[in-house]
C-alpha cells in the first residue's frame, strides 16, 4: 500500500480580487521506504505542498490519503492527532524550545501522545542516541551547535516512530559540511526503513535523495528516480596522500 496518495490537490488563496493558485492540480504517490526531495524556486508552491502533505494545512480541493486514511477534510484536532502519530517534522530553523533540555525537546511529541514520563525519557534518550547525541541529553539548545540542534530536531521527529518524516529546508541554516553530515544522518535513518520527504532548493542536497520532484507554478514538472549519492562520502572525503 502506498504511503501517500494525493490526487488533484488544489490550494487557492484569495488576495483581494485575484485568486492565487498555490497548488494547481498536483497528483503524487509515495511508497514506503522512499527518500524524496521536492525542489522548486520560492513561490513555486513547494512549501504549500509540504504543508498539505504534513497535515498542517488542508487542500482547497482534491484528495489526500496518508497511510490509508483520507485526511483532506479532517478537523484541526484530528489533524493534530495524525501529525502526532504518523508524521515527524524537521524545520529549517530547528524550532527547538529554548531553555529546555535536548531530552525534553525530543520528548515533546510523546507528551501529546499521552505517554508516561519515564517511558518518554527512555524513548527520547534512545532517539537522541540514534542521532549521535547520547552524551548531550541535558544540554540546552543554546549550548549546542547548529548541526547538533538540527540533530535534536531530528530526534524529536523520529521519537514517536512516525511513518513519514517531513523536512523543510533542513540544511538551509547550516554550513555545507554540517549539511552533509545531517544528510548522512537522514540517509542512515532511511536505510533503516524510514520514509523521508524533504524540501530543498539546492541541487547539491537533492543528490542524496532517491527521487527528486520538481515543482513550478503549482504543478509537478519533473519526477525522477535516481541512485542516491552516499552523503557519508562528502562528510569525510578520502584524502589524497
Amino acid at each position: 500500500m502506498s504511503l501517500i496518495v494525493a490526487t488533484d490537490l488544489v490550494k487557492t488563496y484569495r488576495l483581494g480580487e485575484t485568486e492565487l493558485h498555490a497548488l494547481d492540480g498536483v497528483s503524487l504517490t509515495i511508497e514506503p521506504g522512499e527518500f524524496v526531495a521536492i525542489m522548486g524556486a520560492s513561490g513555486s508552491g513547494k512549501s504549500t505542498l509540504m504543508n498539505i502533505l504534513g497535515c498542517l494545512d488542508r487542500p482547497t480541493s482534491g484528495s489526500y490519503t496518508l497511510a490509508g486514511r483520507e485526511v483532506s477534510q479532517l478537523s484541526a484536532a484530528q489533524l493534530a492527532e495524525v501529525r502526532n502519530r504518523t508524521l515527524g517534522f524537521v524545520f529549517q530553523s530547528f524550532n527547538l524550545l529554548s531553555r529546555t533540555t535536548a531530552l525534553e525537546n525530543a520528548e515533546l511529541p510523546l507528551v501529546y501522545a499521552g505517554i508516561g514520563r519515564r517511558e518518554r525519557a527512555r524513548r527520547a534518550a534512545t532517539a537522541l542516541g540514534r542521532v549521535g547525541l547520547g552524551d548531550r541529553l541535558l544540554h540546552h539548545p543554546a549550548q549546542l551547535s547548529g548541526g547538533q540542534q538540527q540533530r535534536v530536531a531530528i530526534a524529536r521527529a523520529i521519537v514517536n516512530e512516525p511513518r513519514l518524516v517531513l523536512a523543510d529546508e533542513p540544511t538551509g541554516n547550516l554550513d555545507s559540511k554540517t549539511s552533509f553530515a545531517v544528510m548522512a544522518l537522514f540517509q542512515e535513518l532511511w536505510r533503516a526503513g524510514l520514509t523521508i520527504l524533504f524540501v530543498t532548493h539546492e541541487p547539491d542536497i537533492a543528490r542524496y535523495a532517491s527521487r527528486v520532484i520538481i515543482v513550478r507554478d503549482g504543478r509537478i514538472v519533473s519526477d525522477t528516480t535516481q541512485v542516491a549519492r552516499d552523503a557519508a562520502l562528502d562528510v569525510s572525503p578520502p584524502k589524497a596522500a
Binding site: A80, Y112, G114, R156
Partner: protein, 411 residues
Amino acid sequence: MALMIGQTLPVAVRALLRNKLRSFLTTLGIIIGVASVISMVGVGEGAKTRVESAFASMGTNLLLVLSGTTRSGGVMGGFGSLPTLTWDDLHAIRTEAPAVAAAAPAQNVRVTVSSDEENWTTGVTGTTPEFFDIRAWHIGRGTFFGQEDLEANNSVIVLGQTVVEHLFSPGVDPIGKIVRIRNIPFVVVGVLERKGQSPLGSDYDDVCVIPVTTFQTKIQGGLQKYIAGIIMVSAKSNEDTSRAQRQITALLRDRHHIQKDDDDDFSIRNLTELANAQQQGTRALTGLLAAIAVVSLIVGGIGIMNIMLVSVTERTREIGVRMAVGAKPSQILWQFLVEAVSLSTLGGLVGVIIGTFAARALAAKLAWPYASRWDMVLVSFAFSALVGIGFGLYPARKASRLDPIEALRYE
C-alpha cells in the same frame, strides 16, 4: 480534564518560573486584592465582635422602660419628666411578663461622695439587687448588697473602680470603709469589676450603687408611689427582647388604662435592636470594603489577561512547534489557561497569607479582637482562581486558534 491538567501543569509552572519577576508583578494585583479582602473582613469582624461585646457590657438583653412626658403649653418635658411608672408596675413586669428574666428600678443622681481622704462627684444609682445581673456587672471585691439591705434601708454602697481610685490611695482596701453622701455615712460593701467604656465613651466604672429604698429615704425623696427613674429589664434571651417589649407595652397600657387610640405614657428602648442596627452599620462598611477589594481583584485579573496576551504573542513559535508535533487546540488552550489560573491562585494564596497577617497586626494595633473567617479565605481563594479562568480564557483561546503554519513562520 484531570489528564490535561496533569500534562499541562508542569509546563505552565515552568513557563511562569522562567519569568519570575514578571510573574510576580502580574500576581501583585491579585495579591493586593485578596490581601485587602482578607484584612478588611478580618478587621470588620473584629469591629463587629467589639460592638457585640460593648453592647453585651451594657447588660444582657437589655430593655429600658422610661416614664412618660409632661406637656405644658406645648413644651414637651422629655422622657421621665412625668413619673408614670409605679412600684406596682415594676412588680407586674417581674411577675406577669413571661419573656422578662429580671427587672430593676434605677434612680440616678449626681452627687459628691467623700471619703476620709478625698471627694469625687459621680453618679449614684439607687436600685435593687437584680440590677447587677441585668447590667451583667460583676463584683470585684466584697459583695453586692442584698434583699435584706433593701428591706432595712441599710446605708451600704458598692463602688466602681474609678470612684475607688479617686477616693482612696492606692493599696487601701475600701471594703468596710465609710464614705459620705450629703453627710450620710455609707459602708462600702463591694467594689465592681472594671468594665471600661460604654459604646458611647462614658466610663462604666464611674458609678456608685446603693439600695433604692435608702436612695429614696436618704438621698432624694419623692412620691413614694412612683419610681423617679427608669426600669431596667433583661429579657430571657436575645430573641426574647422584642417579645418582652410587646408584653411590657401591653401590660403597662392595661395597668395605666390607656385607651386604644391614645399614646403610651411610657416608652421602651430595646438596646438589642440598637446593637443590631449598629452591627448592620459595620456589616455595610465591611461590604463596601469588600466591594473595593473585588474591584482590585478584577484589576488584577486584567493584569493577568494583559500579560497572558503578551506571553501568547512571545511564544507564538513555541505554540506552532507544539501544534506541529501534535498538540491539539484544546491542549494549547489548557496550557495557557492552567498558566493563568496558576498565576492567579498563587496570588490568591500569597494574598491570603499577607491579608491574615495584616488583619492580625491591625487588630493588635487597634486592640480589637481578631476574628479569622475561614469562609472568606476560601471564598477569596476561589474567587482568585475564578479570576484566572475568566481573564485567562481569552488569551488561551487566542493561542489555541493560531494557525500552525503562521505560528511557525512568526518572527
